[in-house]
Subunit: 370 residues, 2 copies
Amino acid sequence: MSAPSNLLAPTKVGIALGDRSYDVVIGAGLLDAAATWSDLPKSAQALVVTNEVVAPLYADVLQRQLSALHNRVDVLVLPDGEAHKDWQTMNLVFDRLLANGADRKSVLYALGGGVVGDMTGFAAACYMRGVPFVQVPTTLLSQVDSSVGGKTAVNHPLGKNMIGAFYQPVRVICDMDTLRTLPAREVSAGLAEVIKYGPIADASFLAWLEEHMEGLVALEPALIAHAVQRSCEIKAAVVGADEREGGLRAILNFGHTFGHAIEAGLGFGTWLHGEAVAAGMVMAADLSERCGLMPAGFADRLRALISRAGLPVVAPALSAEEYLEHMRVDKKSQGGEIRFVLIDKLGSAVMRPAPEALVRQTLAACCQPA
Amino acid sequence: MSAPSNLLAPTKVGIALGDRSYDVVIGAGLLDAAATWSDLPKSAQALVVTNEVVAPLYADVLQRQLSALHNRVDVLVLPDGEAHKDWQTMNLVFDRLLANGADRKSVLYALGGGVVGDMTGFAAACYMRGVPFVQVPTTLLSQVDSSVGGKTAVNHPLGKNMIGAFYQPVRVICDMDTLRTLPAREVSAGLAEVIKYGPIADASFLAWLEEHMEGLVALEPALIAHAVQRSCEIKAAVVGADEREGGLRAILNFGHTFGHAIEAGLGFGTWLHGEAVAAGMVMAADLSERCGLMPAGFADRLRALISRAGLPVVAPALSAEEYLEHMRVDKKSQGGEIRFVLIDKLGSAVMRPAPEALVRQTLAACCQPA
C-alpha cells in the first residue's frame, strides 16, 4: 500500500447533470501531464486564481501546461484563508478579468483549496453572467468535497457561504501529488469530510476508514486515492440526484450545522472548516442518539475515528445561546426552525428539526466547559 | 383608442424555459387585485425591494396584497438610479435579508424599474444560492425588456452589467397603471426598447409603431398595452430559443453596443439607458448601411421614428478612441474584436464584427462634433 504515486493510473468519477455533466479526474502527476488538459475549452484568455501559499508550488507548471489552450494565461494570487473569502477579495478577480479585457469565452482555473475554489467558482458564475471554470483542488478537503458539485459562495459577516451560486465546473482535477505539500493539520481537516461519507451513505466505507486511518493520515498513495475516489463517488450520486439541494443533498451537511456555528462563533478561520465539521459530527451523532435514531455507542465510535484522524472531538466553549443563534441563520433553517442532518442508521441520514431541549443537552455534553 | 385602462382584460405572455417557465401578465389595475398574487409561492418572509421614487407610490398596496402570501412582508427602499446599480447597494438587500433571518423559501419582489429589477434579481440569484423572486416592473423600459428573460446584473466601474447571472423570475407583473406616474423622459426611454423589436424581428410592428407613435408617447392605454404585449412576445420567442445568449439572444442588444459606450463614456446615469440605446440604434442602422446590409434610407427612417418618440438621435461628442475602447469591453466582444448587432433586412438581425474604418465613419456621421 505504499507504491510510488506515479504508478497509480488516473480514474474518473462522472458527475451526471445533463448538459452540465463533467468528470472528476483522480490520479498522480496530473498537473504536469499534457493529457490532463488536452481536451478542455480553448480560448484567447485564461486566468489562474490561486493563493499566496499554493502559487509558488504549482502556478508555474499550470501556466506552462495551459499555454497550449490559451494565448494568454494570467495568474492572480489572492491572500490565503477563510477570513478572505469575501466579496471584496472576489472582486479582485473581476478587476483583473476586466483589466485584461477577458471575454465570455475566457476560462478560470481555481488552483488551491476550498476558499479559492468557492470564490473562483462564484466569480466564474457571475463574470459576464457566466464563464467556464476548472477546479484544480490542491487540498484533501477540496478534493473530496468542495470542488465537486458546483456549490460556490463567499461569506457574509452574518453567515458563512450566504452569497453564492450553484455553478458547475467543466472538470475537476485531483492530483494526489499536491497533497504531499499539505500541512498535517490540513490533511486531518480533509479527512473530516472523508469520514462524513461513511455515516451518511456507506457503512462499509466507515469500516474501511476505521481499518486504514493511520495510513490515510500518513497519505499512503493507494489509500488516499481510494478515499478520494469513494468520497467523490458518493458525492456524485447525491449531487446527481439533487443538484440544487431541494432535499437529499442536504445530507452532505452532516456535522455542518454545528460546525458552521463553531466557525461563526470563533470567527471564521480560527478553526479550519474540517476541524469544525469534525467536532460538529460528534455533536450531530450525539444528537442522533438523543433523538432515539441511533443506539448508544454510535457517537463514541465516530468520536474515536475522528480523534485518530487528528481532529478535535470537543466543541469550543461558546454559550448555548450563541450556538443556537448561529444555527438559526443556517441555510437549512426554515421559518426560524433549525434543521439538523441526523443519522438514522449507519449509512443513512435524514434532515429534521430536533427538540431544543435535546439540542441543549448535546451542547452541554459536547462542548468544553466555559 | 382611449378607453379607460380598467376595461382592458389582463393578457399573459408565456416564457417557455422548461422547469423555469413563467408568465408575463399584462393589464391594468393588477397591483391591487388579489387575483394577481393568489397563486404565487407562499413563505414565512418576503422582501419588497424598491427605490425612493417608487416606494411612496406603490409599496403600501403591494405590502397589503402580499400579506395574504407571507407572514412578514418587509420593504427595502434603495437609492434611485443607475449610479447605484452596484454591489454595494445590492449588499443592502443581503444585509436586510440576513438581519430578518430570511431563509431559502423567502420571496423577493422587485418593485420599480430596470435598476431595481436587475439588482433584486441578482440578489435573489445569490442569496443562499438562489431564492424565488417576482418582477413588478413599474417603468415602460422594464416592462418591455429588462424584467423579462432573466438577465440580472450590477455594474462594475469598468463596465455595465459585467457582474450578474441568468436567473428567471417566477412571474412578471406589468401593471399599465404604474406608467401614468412616469416622467415623459422615462416613457420615451422605454419606447426606445419597444422600437428595437421592429427592425430586429417584426417589420409590420415597425410600421404599426410609425402609425401610432404619438398615441404611444401619450400613453393611450390600448396602444401601450399592445406595444408591451408585442414586445414581450418577441422577447419571449428569442429568450425561449436562447436563454443564455449563446447566439440568437444577442440580437436583443441592437443599438446597445454603441449605447453602452455612450453610457460608460458619459458616466452611468447621465443619459438614461433607453436614450443611449436610441442614439445607439441610429448608429447601428447607419453601420448596417455602411456594411452594405441595408439600403440607403433605413437609418433615416429609424431616426425619424426615434425622434418622434422624444429620444436623442445624435450621439454625444466622445472621441472615436473612447467609443472603441468602451465597446471592446462589451460582453459580445470575443478576443478583443467588437461584434455588432446589425440589421440585414427589415425584421432580421445578425451579429458580426465590422471593419474598424466603417465603424469610425459611423462615429463621425452620428456623433455631435467635438
